[in-house]
Symmetry: C2
Subunit: 362 residues, 2 copies
Amino acid sequence: MKLPHPVTTQFFSVQDVATAVHTLGLPTVFQRLADTIRADYLRWNDFEKCARVANHSKDGVIELMPISDAKTYSFKYVNGHPKNTQNGLPCVMAFGVLADVDTGIPEFLSELTLSTALRTAAMSVVAAQALARPNSRTMALIGNGAQSEFQALAFHYLMGVQELRLYDTDPRATEKLITNLGHTTLRLRLCSSVTEAVRGADIVTTVTADKTNATVLTPDMLEPGMHINGVGGDCPGKTELHPDVLRASAVFVEYEPQTRIEGDLQHLPADFAVTELWQVLAGQAAGRADAKQITLFDSVGFALQDYSVLRLMRDLAKELGLGQPVNLIPELVNPKDLFVLLQPESQPARTAPGVIKDIILA
Amino acid sequence: MKLPHPVTTQFFSVQDVATAVHTLGLPTVFQRLADTIRADYLRWNDFEKCARVANHSKDGVIELMPISDAKTYSFKYVNGHPKNTQNGLPCVMAFGVLADVDTGIPEFLSELTLSTALRTAAMSVVAAQALARPNSRTMALIGNGAQSEFQALAFHYLMGVQELRLYDTDPRATEKLITNLGHTTLRLRLCSSVTEAVRGADIVTTVTADKTNATVLTPDMLEPGMHINGVGGDCPGKTELHPDVLRASAVFVEYEPQTRIEGDLQHLPADFAVTELWQVLAGQAAGRADAKQITLFDSVGFALQDYSVLRLMRDLAKELGLGQPVNLIPELVNPKDLFVLLQPESQPARTAPGVIKDIILA
């Protein structure tokens, strides 16, 4: 009888992500993440894509985000519950899996709460590097919650942003952000209104969390040449931008069918013209037309970024010796004999044939 | 500052499932599973349902199966790779999650390879109890692979089936089945063809695995009053029954939109009449008309059964003290401060504030 095929799932925890960041440094992790995302976006047509599958409830949403190419499948589980912070919980929690397309083995199971924050910021930079004016140094950061430090530092490390203009309806959120960024050379300016924060900014990043059709940015705030990085409008009924902000801009999206449902785009007619970002990255569509144009990345978070961050985390697990095996899938001596796992002689379960590889191979 | 909200994910392994079955006995587990499935089917309209989301490749498929009611969300990851057994791997591997709809916390992460085999068999019995003649004692079992023992024993324990007529194209599969069922009082008859196995059977269960449009059952094999439990035709291009078998039968399905795509039903016109099983269970539609009618359950596996088995496994984890916590989601002192997880002072990571509950509460 053949030896059993190894069925190993590697588990990568929050601690593993933190250790990887501490070992390599956040600038390196952001750089590698942006490079991975860009490389995957350049293979756009290799992927089987769909809009994410959402189960909505009164105060939130739970979503599954699958995507695959010929070799690798990934999905993310993620929630969005803006009121969670009132109960001491994050708004967004996530985990995900990389699987082998040829066999279906779920090979890598990772936390994605922290990793989603990293990949969202890296994605924003990939878009801004293609769309914002290259000499952008000042960014307004509207919404200073869980995602804000990641946006701030990704733009600082990868785009050379030197000054942040901060605004949040909750002053304690801004205070926390300032504390967390104290170790950097970023100039931090506390602003008392969105208008004040946006004035003169090269880049405007909106990362607010309410599940409501808010109007954080209005057309009167726009200035020629701005790049708007709209991150917080990412689900039906959860938007941040006045429709005229989109009408005044060249609008770029991740995956058009999903953004039409979820993005700030949901308030505009179905024929409102947008460009998928991958086309710009691949040189198949124009990005910014000139230094006066307003560009807008209507980011909702697409499965391909999760594929990218999972791929990077799997690489880092190997490079740095992180992660640990988890017994998610049974190993079987005879793959047609699943029932053996329930046989009395298989007890105690920890030594069941087909369960523990070491014993089978011994 | 508030104490952090506990974010605990309980992990339930293959060993935990095996231990639960050994502690309670397989008949009890099957009974409780059938009861749970039936109870959930009687709440059919409470659920937000969708056909599963499938990524197909040449030799297989990877699927996500979400479903939710007002309180609880569940999903299953499952593959189907019929050629896997040639490489020593199971055709079907699975895991899944129960999550809290109000907060999005993934509370329970379970293996579902073994549990899917249990729930598929329990579901078959729930359908057969509603559709087969009550005095059914003989079952043909076509396909003697990984799912076959589970079907055999669920029908034995819960329906009183006493005799099995076995057929598989691979005689070693049947040999394995006979060995595994040696401890029971079931009469096992080895048959040399499908026709021989089906002749005189009250119930015909087909659980073959090829991803091909096979014709395991043909109309000439049918006898008045039979109940057909068609389990193996469960994905586009993977069927078992000649279309005339369906035309000769009263056909019942789990969730019609999914079965039209995936079931043996895929070969019939879109207006071919079928009945959703929940309607029969709820007394809203007729089941079997008379003792001569042929009934057919075109089973593909629906997300609600996974919700049910996850719910039962979570109950068993509590009752029997099984499972263990896994650090899938970070705990945060301040839910708007995710970045703290990356702060240097949070090292070593195992004692990071917000990561280890014991330390925060100490």
